[in-house]
């Protein structure tokens, strides 16, 4: 009808909503010179007062990295990265303090703005509390609720602190899920990683509150290379959340992280991510390159590992949170919602490697593409000879908004035994004019209607997120897709 705005008009009118976290914190930083060589690595290691074995680990990784090639099999295109044009270490000048009152107020206010409370009241811990490790550029600035968690024998601290205070644990588990030469970006991370979170849940302990790492990139021309190591010992369980944001800049910034999770017998880990790195502007300028290796090993029998991710940010995403199901009867899960808009490109999925008997994995992937973006699901399901009577179920759905975007599915399935069952389902759909009209006829505006329908489509995954995360993720989905009528 003539009074109705055309779809294209609506798209251009609303354009994309402002990225809320694009501000920069003005803080003096301790940086190493630009570029990468053995001296830089020694410098980072020295700044962190690391033991000799860790420096060796870094240098070995670096030497391997030099022989490796950047992977280009993913459905992502980007200008070549000049690895000598990146600053590999940037830390706020004021040193990390043990006392809350001594953390730089500028940093406290930054995390406050991001909705991450770093103050903790002296009171009994509440199950709705979340313990945060706040990582700002290359260092962890504060970890909350450490004392409370300590009473349960839980170690939750920055990676650097763990190296100092729990070197044996770190040494025992470091790189057991992701070897330094696993891939190009993992090797790079192993050489230059600066900080990250460390978490150890002792035998039989259920962590009473949710643990969370919040990553913030602030400095320009700087990459963030953090490393997270989570160990759930026999019979332990923990729920972990990860969040991230970065300033709005015209340049692309590299984020090459590693997350390793070790799940022992009868233990359970649930790792949730709401990835909201700066996605670049409407024209595709700027934004984070999120090239991340996340992997967990279900080492013991009956171990369970769940990955839940909501990916709305980053200019480029290359990320496959995976499970190695080593213990018999172990369970791996991957629930993902990946949204791409404007010129974003995401290549994400998972690997389920079944080694133990009667292992089970579930993959639910929901891709949503809008604008000129490309959204790919890439997954591998492997059943080893010994993984008898194992099962996998995969469901990969794509939702297209508009006709300039792309959705792609690249499943790779391999079974080396006859008793395992693998199921794969895939659908591609659009929001129909009928659905939009129906919502609007009930008084719901078109933008809200899209938000509702998209949230409904992703509901199966969003429901798996911790409560407050789910609320945030739902808002984020609506915002990332405003004005993208198909």
């Amino acid at each position: 009808m003539n009074n109705e705005k055309s779809d294209n008009q609506i798209v251009s009118e609303i354009a994309n909503a402002e990225y809320k976290y694009g501000f920069v914190t003005d803080i003096e930083a301790d940086v190493v010179p630009k570029g990468l060589n053995e001296d830089i690595i020694r410098m980072i290691s020295a700044k962190k007062e690391e033991p000799e074995w860790l420096l060796e680990f870094r240098l070995n990784a670096y030497r391997k990295w030099l022989t490796m090639k950047e992977p280009h099999w993913g459905h992502v295109d980007y200008e070549p990265i000049d690895y000598q044009d990146i600053i590999y270490y940037s830390a706020p000048k004021k040193k990390k303090q043990t006392n809350f009152d001594e953390v730089d107020p500028e940093l406290l206010s930054t995390f406050n703005k991001l909705g991450i409370p770093l103050d903790e009241q002296k009171r009994l811990v509440n199950s709705s509390d979340v313990a945060y490790d706040a990582v700002f550029d290359s260092v962890s600035v504060k970890t909350t609720f450490q004392d409370t968690l300590g009473k349960y024998g839980i170690i939750f601290c920055s990676f650097s602190e763990a190296v100092k205070n729990h070197p044996d644990l770190v040494r025992q588990y470091l790189s057991t899920a992701v070897p330094p030469d696993d891939n190009f970006f993992a090797a790079l991370n192993s050489a230059v990683f600066s900080d990250g979170s460390f978490c150890y849940i002792p035998k039989g302990v259920t962590c009473p509150i949710e643990l969370s790492t919040y990553f913030r990139i602030n400095a320009a021309q700087t990459g963030q290379f953090e490393r997270t190591l989570i160990i759930a010992d026999v019979g332990a369980s923990v729920r972990y959340m990860e969040g991230c944001t970065a300033p709005q800049r015209d340049e692309n910034q590299l984020h090459a992280a590693i997350v390793e999770i070790i799940v022992m017998k009868d233990a359970e880990v649930k790792y949730s991510t709401v990835q909201n790195w700066y996605p670049g502007d409407k024209e595709g300028k700027g934004g984070i390159y999120n090239f991340v290796t996340k992997r967990g090993v279900c080492k013991g029998d009956n171990a369970k590992l769940s990955w839940v991710q909501v990916e709305t940010g980053s200019a480029r995403t290359w990320k496959y949170p995976s499970c190695i199901l080593q213990g018999d009867n172990s369970v791996g899960e991957f629930y993902s919602v990946a949204v791409t808009n404007n010129y974003q490109q995401a290549d994400t999925g998972t690997k389920m490697i079944h080694i133990g008997k009667n292992t089970k994995s579930t993959i639910i992937s929901k891709g949503i593409s809008a604008g000129y973006s490309d959204n790919s699901y890439r997954g591998r399901v492997f059943m080893a000879k010994g993984a008898t009577n194992s099962r996998n179920y995969s469901q990969c759905d794509s939702l297209l908004l508009g006709d300039k975007c792309g959705a792609h599915t690249y499943p790779n399935i391999q079974a080396e035994n006859d008793s395992s069952v693998i199921e794969h389902e895939a659908t591609t759909s659009r929001i129909s004019e009928e659905q939009l009209f129906y919502c609007q006829q009930r008084g719901i505006s078109i933008e809200k209607a899209i938000g509702l329908i998209v949230n409904g489509y992703a509901n199966e995954v969003l429901n798996r997120l911790p409560m407050e995360f789910a609320v945030e993720a739902k808002k984020l989905l609506a915002v990332s897709l405003e004005g993208t009528v198909g």
């Binding site: 009808m1 008084g443 719901i444 505006s445």
Partner: protein
């Protein structure tokens, strides 16, 4: 008082002329039945009043509460009190009826500068309206129309109508596919919403529905325009002798 005035309305879709100079006046408090053979433009009329953008208004006027309706978007019309009970309600997977209704109500409240409805108030309202259409509890916990039977979908439409308290309700073949019990329930629901301020356009093929929802005026729509209007007895005549008598 005139609630809706349609003057010489010409509507086409993809170059095909559907409505050809249709005129219709509806006063507040009246129930108008629109009858006619298939493909004469009944559903198009309903969609155009609601503002569906796939139709093109070539000529004519649509005045609602004294305002030019064509200046309002679909959702604005809904907020202003126009409700369409769909002939084929669409499914929206993953969106719960509760969430859907709450959004609809809050959007309307926002439009009139009111605060969102409280959870308490909302739950009470739902309970009340569910009873009105004898709706099973579980329905509202399910996704919008997903896996609903034909009858449940129609009940759900009337439930939504009751929740939104519209001034002008258009029932587009709400009776088709309903068994006699469901027809009674749906009709009762509608009758309870009849007030001196609210008006209804009841589109139907069958006189049967009009035994339950008694109209003030009956119109025969044929080839894109109203060719005959009369009292409820007109529906009886149609049932007995068919449309042929009025054609030509």
């Amino acid at each position: 008082m005139k609630l809706l005035e349609i003057k010489n309305l010409w509507v086409s879709i993809n170059g095909k002329q559907i409505l050809k100079g249709l005129s219709l006046d509806i006063n507040a408090g009246e129930v108008h039945a629109v009858m006619g053979p298939n493909g004469t433009g009944k559903s198009t009329l309903a969609s155009v009043i609601a503002g569906r953008s796939i139709f093109n208004i070539d000529e004519g006027e649509l005045i609602y509460k004294g305002k030019d309706l064509t200046k309002l978007s679909v959702d604005e019309r809904a907020k202003e009190g126009i409700f369409l009970s769909f002939q084929y309600p669409v499914e929206i997977p993953g969106v719960s009826m509760v969430n859907f209704m709450r959004n609809a109500i809050d959007e309307k409240r926002k439009y009139f500068g009111q605060d969102p409805i409280s959870m308490h108030e909302f739950i009470n309202l739902m309970e009340e309206k569910k009873r009105l259409v004898e709706m099973k509890d579980t329905l509202t916990q399910r996704s919008v129309n997903e896996g609903f039977s034909g009858g449940e979908k129609k009940k759900n439409e009337i439930f939504q109508m009751a929740m939104l308290e519209p001034q002008l309700s258009i029932l587009d073949e709400t009776d088709s596919g309903l068994d006699i019990d469901a027809l009674r329930i749906v009709s009762n629901g509608v009758n309870k919403l009849r007030t001196p301020d609210n008006s209804f356009i009841v589109i139907t093929h069958y006189q049967r529905l009009l035994n339950y929802i008694v109209p003030d005026v009956v119109h025969v729509l044929y080839d894109g325009k109203i060719i005959k209007s009369g009292s409820k007895e007109l529906a009886m005549e149609l049932e007995k002798d068919g449309y042929e008598q009025f054609i030509k």
